[in-house]
């Protein structure tokens, strides 16, 4: 057979299955677009030149590792999910006289077409949106546009292509192998493959429940931030295992219990719903659990990073109780700097320091008070609204003070002091730590984290939507036959409709309910964990969780509405 024949067949298949392939390509596009953008940010010289840019870059670099793993494994997962549904079709090809190699050739080309289209679209979108997102990142990091240009780095193209080559080659291998090992008869009837009766349902369900409760309890009682930080990922891991166990065995056990209650079960409104849920949970438990886990990750990531971003001023303040901290380190055997001289210097500088922020000139006054029992000095400006140097304290060679007022003036003052001190005490090393530098650094860290959180949010959302959509489509095809039988046996149209409604509602809101439940249980632990980052504003964290969860729930509902209509169309053709 000529090579172009495979391509033609593959194209025809893609066109025919566009209901499945279009979203697949779109998801690929979103994932590759986001991947491309993160890479572009990392490799763009514009970012590195920014104040705090190096930090943001380091965060992106750490993020891309995790992102690569997620993207890669999900591409494989989705492919496996799609191929499983097509075994019958492959069997048909085989009956029509194609050998396995030829079937594999077609399937691999289909993948190439769909994934290639997805990557092209994604990179194109990334290239178009890159500049816009870079400006947004600058805004988030509160950096000015001047001096930082955004160019699309070549490395971003190569990186994206490399990721997708890797996933393409892996899916191609997986598909070829799974086509090769099956025999034709098996392929033909694989869609009505007899299911194994689940075993060890009750123990697994109880184990899942115990794991979940223990993780929830840990999350609820931990008040030590160090412990919270250390235990968060183990706890999350246990919750993930528990989710899979509960969606599988837990639901089966629960539905078995319902089925045993004959009064309840043998009612028309429950009969079909319970039995098909039973069947569906056995088949789809893993997919639903995955949706639940992804949704939880999305909420936690976005809420966590936005809490940090919104709370960064508080974090900064907690890390820097004083605006300026100067640690004096006299040279070996050198002279201790005289505190009195330092006070004098500060006084002089403050007196010399004219502030012109509001157009008028303001001179700082130097006053001396006793601050508790420690020797300390307070300087108060004439106009408190402009600049105020307050609470200068020297303890154990540490000079600390706050400067209130216009930030540039304060920075200028700090810089002047630094210079004066250096000249006055040449043998003393001064270690400076100002809140201004930390703030710029903070914008890099928290802005970068927020950005990364949003990227991960997009990734998780794309995967969640795709999973939901595929579930609707494949189940719609399966259920069509079932509902036809029910109508033949004498189920009324309305009854069929209400049964469909109930099932969709349950199947699709179970993962959401699970995700919200996990989020609720984790919220206290996350707030405690963020305390390790010096974010002590628990209500801010809770608020972020609430808003993120609410926005996600709304999005989920919208996606559900859209995909449910696809399902209805399939079932009621």
């Amino acid at each position: 057979m000529p090579k172009s024949f495979y391509l033609r067949l593959a194209l025809a298949n893609v066109r025919r299955s566009r209901q499945v392939y279009m979203p697949y390509a779109f998801a690929t596009a979103i994932i590759s677009g986001v991947y491309f953008l993160i890479l572009a940010m990392i490799f763009s010289p514009g970012l590195a030149n920014l104040p705090g840019g190096e930090t943001a870059k380091a965060i992106f670099t750490a993020g891309i590792v995790v992102f690569t793993l997620f993207a890669y494994f999900f591409m494989l997962y989705i492919n496996a999910f799609l191929v499983k549904r097509r075994k019958k079709e492959f069997g048909l090809y085989s009956v029509l006289g194609m050998n396995r190699k030829q079937i594999a050739a077609i399937v691999v080309r289909e993948n190439l077409i769909v994934m290639g289209a997805g990557v092209l679209l994604g990179v194109a979108l990334g290239a178009v949106l890159g500049r816009l997102l870079f400006l947004l990142l600058l805004h988030i990091m509160r950096a000015t546009v001047a001096g930082s240009t955004f160019v699309l780095p070549r490395a971003a193209f190569f990186g994206t292509v490399a990721l997708f080559l890797a996933s393409f080659i892996s899916t191609a291998l997986y598909n070829s192998v799974s086509i090769h090992i099956a025999n034709t008869a098996e392929l033909l009837k694989s869609d009505r493959q007899s299911e194994k009766r689940p075993r060890l349902v009750l123990p697994a369900a109880i184990l899942g429940l115990l794991l979940l409760l223990s993780a929830y309890t840990v999350a609820a009682i931990i008040k030590n931030m160090g412990l919270a930080l250390g235990l968060f990922f183990p706890a999350a891991f246990i919750v993930i295992i528990a989710t899979y166990l509960l969606f599988g065995a837990g639901c089966t056990a629960f539905l078995t219990m319902l089925r045993k209650n004959k009064q309840l079960y043998y009612k028309p409104e429950n009969f079909i719903a319970i039995s098909s849920m039973f069947h569906r949970m056995r088949q789809n438990a893993r997919g639903l659990a995955t949706i639940c886990v992804l949704s939880t990750m999305l909420i936690v990531t976005v809420a966590g990073t936005s809490s940090l971003y919104l709370g960064q001023e508080e974090i900064l303040r907690a890390n820097h109780p004083y605006d300026v901290r100067i640690y004096m380190n006299p040279a070996e055997g050198g002279e201790e700097p005289s505190y009195a001289r330092i006070d004098e210097l500060i006084g002089q500088l403050a007196a010399e320091h004219y502030v012109t922020a509001d157009g008028a000139e303001h001179k700082l006054k130097y006053t001396q008070v006793n601050e508790q029992d420690e020797p300390g000095y307070v300087m108060v400006g004439e106009d408190a609204s402009v600049i105020k140097l307050k609470h200068a304290v020297i303890i154990n060679r540490m000079l600390r003070f706050d400067i209130a007022g216009v930030e540039e003036d304060a920075e200028r003052f700090a810089a002047a002091l630094k210079q004066a001190l250096g000249q006055e005490f040449p043998h003393t090393e001064f270690n400076w730590s100002t809140i201004y530098d930390a703030r710029v650094e903070g914008y890099g860290i928290f802005g970068g984290l927020l950005f990364l959180g949003a990227f991960f949010g997009v990734l998780f959302l794309a995967l969640t939507v795709l999973m939901i959509y595929f579930k609707q489509v494949t189940e719609g095809q399966e259920d069509k036959e079932r509902f036809e039988i029910l109508q033949k046996v004498g189920m009324s149209d309305e009854a069929v409709r209400s049964t469909i409604n109930r099932q969709i509602l349950w199947v699709f809101f179970l993962p959401l309910a699970g995700a919200l439940c996990h989020t609720l249980a984790a919220s206290s632990m996350i707030a405690t964990m963020l305390e390790a980052f010096q974010l002590f504003n628990r209500s801010l964290t809770m608020c972020c969780m609430l808003v993120t969860a609410a926005v996600f729930a709304l999005t989920y509902f919208f996606v559900y509405r859209q995909t449910a209509s696809v399902y209805y169309r399939l079932v009621r053709q």
Binding site: Y266, F271, I272, R482, M491
Partner: protein, 254 residues
């Protein structure tokens, strides 16, 4: 006593663009009495499946009507049709049409549950039917765990558990091997002897030879009919095959 009357039924399908009409049933009339076992035979495309769908109220005739116990199906409003089907008719299909999400027990009980039969009665009605069809031991299995013949007997159990006035079977032996077919047909006769009225569409002369009367349809019209009379299965089978020969010939050389 007359149970079912097919009164000048005609069914015309419009092709997609409506340019051409396809006549599936030209003009068919016949009656089925209570307690009869009637087989309908005919070559592919003769309209026998269309006829069965119309009798089953799954399809509507273009003209003419069906009367079950004197009641015209046309007069039944759409939303009451499913209840009417459930209460009066039982179906057995070639492809079994069992729900793979239900155990055999629940598949059989399905029409009763839909009709809101009380729980206590479910079991009482299930056991004799399952026993008669020899699937008592399999009730807790799922359809994919049993053989084709067992699936079909389950489908028969589901069809008769409501005590329908009329049992309709569409190629019930089409997907079965010869032993399972013989077993199923034996069950049909047993049901018939217990007073059930059966109407079966089939391709197989062997299957039809179990019936009391065979109707032959060709090109949407009733072509011929045979009564068993005093014949045994063997003799009836030979008469049916002879008749089929004439039917397949198209009567051109006559």
């Amino acid at each position: 006593m007359e149970l079912l009357r097919i009164d000048h039924v005609r069914r015309v399908f419009n092709t997609r663009l409506g340019f051409k009409q396809c006549i599936a049933l030209r003009d068919i009339s016949f009656e089925v009495c209570e307690g009869e076992f009637v087989a309908i035979m005919g070559p592919s495309g003769s309209g026998k499946s269309t006829l069965l769908n119309i009798i089953a109220s799954l399809d509507k005739p273009s003209s003419g009507d069906i009367y079950l116990s004197g009641k015209g199906l046309k007069a039944i409003p759409e939303r009451e049709l499913s209840a009417f089907r459930r209460d009066n008719l039982g179906f057995v299909f070639q492809e079994f049409n069992l729900l793979d999400t239900l155990t055999l027990r629940d598949n059989i009980l399905l029409p009763l549950v839909l009709a809101r039969v009380p729980l206590a009665e479910l079991e009482a009605r299930l056991i004799p039917v399952a026993r008669q069809l020899g699937i008592e031991e399999l009730l807790d299995k799922f359809p994919y765990e049993v053989s084709g013949g067992e699936k079909q007997r389950t489908a028969v159990a589901r069809a008769v558990i409501t005590n329908p006035k009329l049992l309709l079977a569409d190629e019930p032996t089409g997907a079965l091997d010869s032993r399972a077919s013989a077993n199923l047909l034996g069950q049909f006769r047993a049901l018939n002897e217990k007073g059930h009225t059966l109407l079966m569409v089939t391709h197989s002369a062997l299957a039809a030879s179990h019936a009391g009367r065979v109707l032959f349809i060709r090109d949407g019209e009733l072509f011929n009919q045979l009564y068993r009379g005093e014949d045994n299965n063997r003799a009836f089978y030979e008469r049916i095959t002879a008749s089929l020969l004439v039917l397949e010939d198209g009567g051109t050389d006559a």
